[in-house]
């Protein structure tokens, strides 16, 4: 995959004067490209004079980084304790069955990534799902169905 290194350079310039600001830099790259492209990491390694192995270590240690491209839409299923006791595992099962992927994976058409998160801090609404940054709470199986249905429709219209 071709990566616009100009964008990477711009982000690098932002952190150049800061000491060891690798994590915020990788966070910015990750949100720009929706993952950490290999070429981008190589560029950071050269320009910031840091071993590629160190960047790889950070990329694999912290959960917010991904080394593979993520979907256009992100579905985060909250698996916090409050959601867990209110039935989050069922909701997760339903969603993964629907998309035919395991948590952490992306659909083949690169449209959806489903992942689990440990508490988004909206426990009163549990079980809940964060769909592209928007919260959908008090889910049960039929409401989950409805939620996904809506997005499928939207998806069809846009494509």
């Amino acid at each position: 995959m071709n990566v616009d290194l100009g964008k990477v350079d711009k982000l690098i310039d932002k952190y150049r004067d800061e000491e060891a600001a690798y994590i915020p830099l990788l966070q910015d790259i990750n949100s720009e490209f929706r993952y950490l492209p290999r070429d981008a990491l190589k560029r950071v390694s050269q320009k910031m004079e840091v071993p590629l192995s160190h960047l790889f270590r950070l990329a694999t240690f912290y959960k917010s980084f991904s080394l593979v491209p993520r979907g256009e839409h992100e579905i985060q299923v909250c698996m916090g304790t409050a959601c867990h006791v209110r039935g989050a595992p069922r909701v997760l099962n339903k969603i993964t069955q629907q998309f035919q992927i395991y948590p952490g994976e992306t659909t083949a058409d690169q449209k959806f990534t489903v992942e689990t998160v440990n508490c988004v801090g909206a426990c009163a609404l549990g079980p809940l799902v964060v769909f592209d940054g928007k919260y959908f709470g008090h889910l049960n199986l039929s409401r989950t169905d409805k939620l996904l249905e809506g997005y499928h429709e939207e998806n069809k219209k846009s494509s």
Binding site: L58, T81, V85, K94, A122, C123, Y135, L141
Partner: protein, 617 residues
């Protein structure tokens, strides 16, 4: 905008602000914390703005978008002043009526009032809501009063008064003494006395020192730090500035979870505003003291809530803990003396300085002073943030403030302290909550998570859940945590799948003791707590899984079967429609049948059945 150059100038500005605050003028506060926003509070705000703009009203109404009020269960919340009128579950379309009826004609709208779940009576004002009545909201109280992005609002309620006092009247030594005398202990969970921590950093040699605010709130089921940062960021910032003055630090950091975008945004705004007004940066309020704060966003690793891992993460490394024979107060960030405290600890500091150590030490129990914020969640009527004096009993917390258990079910246990804490059974509900008493019961204060469980929660499954969390989040550096957790989890998985043996329970205890003795940081030493406490208080439930291959709470999928009660089923067909595996058959208006071989135990039928005809055995 002009920088404030002296404490006197700050006082003058505050006086002007207070005199401008005309309390007769109606003002509406709308809670826009994460919980209420997710329930549609932002729509309510835009509806107010639109209505006020479009309808040339004869009265001047101020709307205020505030941080979390704490009562997330009833969101979106709207409070109307003067009068302290409390409306809950407000929707976009209610706004017009609120303006017309309540603001213009001073009448109450019955359907928006809160109904007390115990007395079934309607409550008119925020102060009268039982959820708030028993609380002592020192840290959270102002969340509902101020717009977190407006520095003037914080100044108007006395904000930065403590900083003023410190710069004018107190030496660093005196500040440390005051904090020591107050008895404040770290609110991150371990409960180390804050004043002593500051003192050792004060005494440590070095011209460069750091202060850090730990806002990497990773415990599932905890959101108090987030609410303070979102709703009242200046209180945390003021505490950090005072702490920096006390230990003579010039640079501070706040390490916030990246999953908390609103907290990051509001805290960044607070930093910028404070800098603009000369409350942060070079020569604070015209004094010789300079200090600045930087934000570090976390990378989504739970272990980074541990102090030495957090420091490593700020240094641009992988967040792995180190052994702490040398304390961070002597060699912390970049090997310089560092004071690291939790959000709530920092936010408490200005209160102590302002109102005195004596006032603070009168709240709470002998060894645990002040208030603690709990995230009350799980199977409880009033989910939300609760701030209470230390020493309150679990019973008061769950039944009086929390309003009891939904659906008339019985309480089984309460999990305190998140994944590192323990499970406290019903028989110990009279336990007063303080640092020592919780440890005696096998749990801990932790960051204040409090998850209520009813009879339908399986404690074995819960222990498995917590362990799978800590095992997943283990950084892998030390063997007891990495391998011990893995083995213990596999044993628990076996038990919940009906493949457990009685000797497994001894093995669990053995592994737990090694993890407790040998792990490098608290993540590993505390990880066995949920397993050990459930094993201690609910041995019969473990044995039911092992001997009888049954899950009494009806949770563990491999050990339960669904049945249709032929008497109760009226053949409405709802379950038949939702069953994804076509396991349910039957004719309309005749009792249905469930085929065990086809059933995948997803539970979809229980959700839709209105006649309680689906039984779990």
């Amino acid at each position: 905008m002009k920088k404030i150059k002296s404490p006197a100038e700050l006082e003058k500005l505050r006086e002007t602000l207070v005199s401008q605050n005309n309390t007769d003028k109606p003002w509406v506060t709308i809670c826009c914390g994460t919980g209420c926003s997710a329930s549609g509070a932002l729509d309510v705000v835009s509806s107010f703005e639109k209505a006020i703009k479009e309808k040339n009203l004869d009265i001047d109404i101020t709307t205020k978008v505030t941080g979390c009020h704490g009562f997330c269960e009833q969101g979106p919340l709207v409070v109307i002043n003067p009068g302290n009128i409390f409306y809950c579950k407000v929707k976009y379309e209610d706004v017009e009526e609120i303006i017309k009826e309540t603001l213009l004609e001073k009448k109450l709208i019955d359907r928006l009032l809160y109904v007390d779940p115990l007395s079934q009576e309607k409550v008119k004002t925020e102060d009268e809501v039982t959820f708030y009545k028993k609380q002592l909201r020192l840290l959270l109280g102002n969340n509902g009063m101020i717009d977190p992005t407006d520095l003037y609002d914080y100044l108007g309620i006395g904000g930065y008064g403590a900083l003023n006092k410190v710069l004018q009247e107190m030496t660093p030594r005196q500040v440390i003494e005051e904090i020591k005398n107050s008895g404040l202990r770290g609110r991150g969970g371990a409960g180390f006395p804050t004043g002593i921590k500051w003192e050792s950093s004060y005494k440590a040699e070095g011209d460069l020192k750091y202060v850090i605010c730990n806002a990497d709130e990773g415990d599932p089921g905890c959101f108090q730090d987030r609410s303070i940062l979102e709703g009242n960021p200046h209180s945390v910032l003021e505490g950090m500035i005072i702490g920096a003055y006390a230990v003579d630090s010039g640079q501070g950091y706040i390490y916030v979870r990246n999953e908390y975008p609103l907290a990051v945004k509001n805290f960044s705004t607070a930093i910028e505003k404070a800098r603009d007004y000369g409350l942060l940066g070079e020569n604070i309020l015209g004094s010789s003291f300079s200090f600045d704060v930087k934000i570090c966003r976390g990378g989504g690793a739970f272990v980074c809530g541990e102090s030495s891992a957090l420091i490593a993460s700020i240094e641009g490394k992988a967040g792995e803990p180190r052994d702490k024979y040398i304390h961070a107060t002597e060699k912390g960030l970049h090997d310089k003396p560092t004071v690291l405290n939790n959000v709530k600890t920092w936010a408490t500091v200005p209160l102590i300085i302002e109102k005195s150590a004596e006032w603070f030490s009168n709240i709470g129990t002998e060894k645990s002073k002040g208030t603690m914020i709990f995230s009350l969640t799980g199977k409880v009527n009033n989910t939300g943030l609760v701030e209470v004096p230390m020493g309150i009993t679990l019973k008061e917390l769950v039944f009086e403030i929390g309003g009891g258990i939904p659906g008339g079910k019985n309480i089984k246990a309460v999990q305190t302290g998140g994944p590192s804490g323990g499970c406290i059974p019903e028989k110990l509900l009279d336990l007063p909550l303080d640092y020592e008493k919780l440890i005696e019961a096998g749990s801990m204060m932790g960051s204040g998570g409090m998850i209520v469980m009813d009879e339908n929660t399986c404690v074995v499954d819960l222990a498995r859940y917590f362990l799978s969390f800590t095992q997943d989040e283990s950084c892998g550096k030390c063997i007891p945590c990495r391998e011990g957790g893995k083995q213990m989890l596999s044993i628990l998985n076996n038990i919940t799948q009906g493949k457990g043996q009685e000797k497994d329970l001894d093995l669990i205890r053995e592994i737990a003791s090694v993890m407790k003795d040998g792990s490098l940081c608290a993540l590993g030493t505390m990880a066995p707590n949920p397993v050990l406490t459930t094993l201690q208080y609910f041995p019969d439930e473990y044995l039911a899984h092992i001997r009888d291959k049954k899950c009494p709470a009806g949770v563990c999928q491999a050990l339960i079967e669904y049945f249709i009660d032929q008497e109760a089923c009226n053949g409405c067909g709802r379950c038949l429609k939702v069953c994804p595996s076509e396991a349910i058959t039957g004719h309309k208006e005749e009792p249905h049948e469930l085929d065990q071989d086809k059933c995948i135990k997803c539970g979809a039928c229980t959700e839709v059945c209105r006649h309680e005809a689906i039984l779990v055995k």
